[in-house]
Amino acid sequence: MKKNTWKAFTAWVNGTAEESRPLRREAGQSAHEKHPLFHLNEEMRVRLFRWEYRAVALIVCLTVVAVLLFTVFHLPLFGEPNNPAVNEVVERYVEKGLEETGAVNMVSGMILDYRAFDTFGESSVLFLAVTSVMMLLLRDEKNISAEEDIQEAHERIIEKEASDRILQKVVSLVMPCIFLFGIYVVLNGHISPGGGFSGGAIMGAGLILYGSAFGTDKVREIFTMKTFRRITSSALLCYAASKAYSFYTGANGLPTGIPLGTPGAIFSSGLILVLDICVGMVVACTMYGFYVLFARGEI
């Protein structure tokens, strides 16, 4: 029984399942369909449904907005220092943050030390998103059509013959600066504004720019599917391992044996620098992966 269910499930996932269930309303409908007014009726039904749907949606929206506005007018004033949002948690993070995490940028210290587990889940969300986009758009033996192949070949020819010289020159000038800025933002995440997410996004955007100016084949010389897999999975594993180490030593700010260093120096604040680099790697690869899968259907 169990095996049968599993088989049916795999068949359903693969799309090879036979439609064994009889369709609903099959018996009762045939008499209806013979009626000359049936099609007219259906059109009217659809139109009526649309009107009803619009009216209900409008009412729901207006109610939600009215309730929210009513609530907003009962909130404490904007920007006051004794709002309930500014409570003892904030005081604790601001006053002890530098001492406990060693990060000058409190936001980085917060998301990569106190709440690092949360950030790990979030990097996994990115990884899962790129995996699901890959499942949907990767051009493999199940997702291929002759029409698309022709268009693909056509675009490759256009890319080769009508390459934009101005764009290429400017990109080759700007590209090193973008990458340097991205790396700077990642490495200085604990000292200045920025961090893994923003730096990774900047580097990913730089890769996208390069790919769209010189063609993705050029990028593939340095960045293939293999590198993509290796970088993302090793960065996530490295994040998990370093956080597991800090849990193993007791977490909660207990000594981990990693020196915090002087605040403001680049090698300071313990694990935050490592975690920032891991997150930056994942984000950069994910952003470029999205673009390439959207544009070409392969990495």
């Binding site: 907003v72 004033l77 220092p81 950030t119």
Partner: protein, 127 residues
């Protein structure tokens, strides 16, 4: 009236967040075009972020980056909403990428991005 206006100006970001949320929600429900639905979803997303971040702002204080070694809680704005929103922004881009990939697959199958037409075609196939 005067007091009401003053309160409205003081709560400007919250009110803007609610209005943007309403616009996004209405278009998410009423638009037929799937791309427009996704844009509306993104507008809704960022309105929530705007509301969260405006709760963390405190008038006349600095960004939460320690300057000159001063670690006094009365000097900096609230860092917690910034941390929450930072993760939220990156999740929202991956969610919209997933939506767009779904739209591409739907287009490949039905050759349209109009939601009603897709539903009609899907229904005809079932009947």
């Amino acid at each position: 009236m005067q007091a009401f206006l003053e309160k409205a100006v003081s709560l400007r970001f919250e009110i803007a967040a609610v209005v943007l949320f309403g616009i996004g929600f209405m278009n998410l429900l009423l638009q037929n075009n799937l791309i427009k639905k996704i844009v509306a979803f993104n507008v809704m997303d960022s309105s929530v972020f705007l509301f969260l971040a405006s709760q963390g702002y405190i008038e006349g204080r600095m960004a939460p980056i320690v300057q000159n070694g001063v670690t006094d809680a009365s000097q900096y704005v609230n860092p917690i909403p910034a941390g929450l929103v930072l993760t939220g922004i990156v999740v929202s881009v991956s969610v919209s990428a997933f939506f767009l990939a779904l739209v591409q697959r739907l287009y490949k199958h039905y050759h349209t991005v109009d939601f009603d037409e897709i539903m009609m075609m899907a229904k005809k196939k079932v009947d």
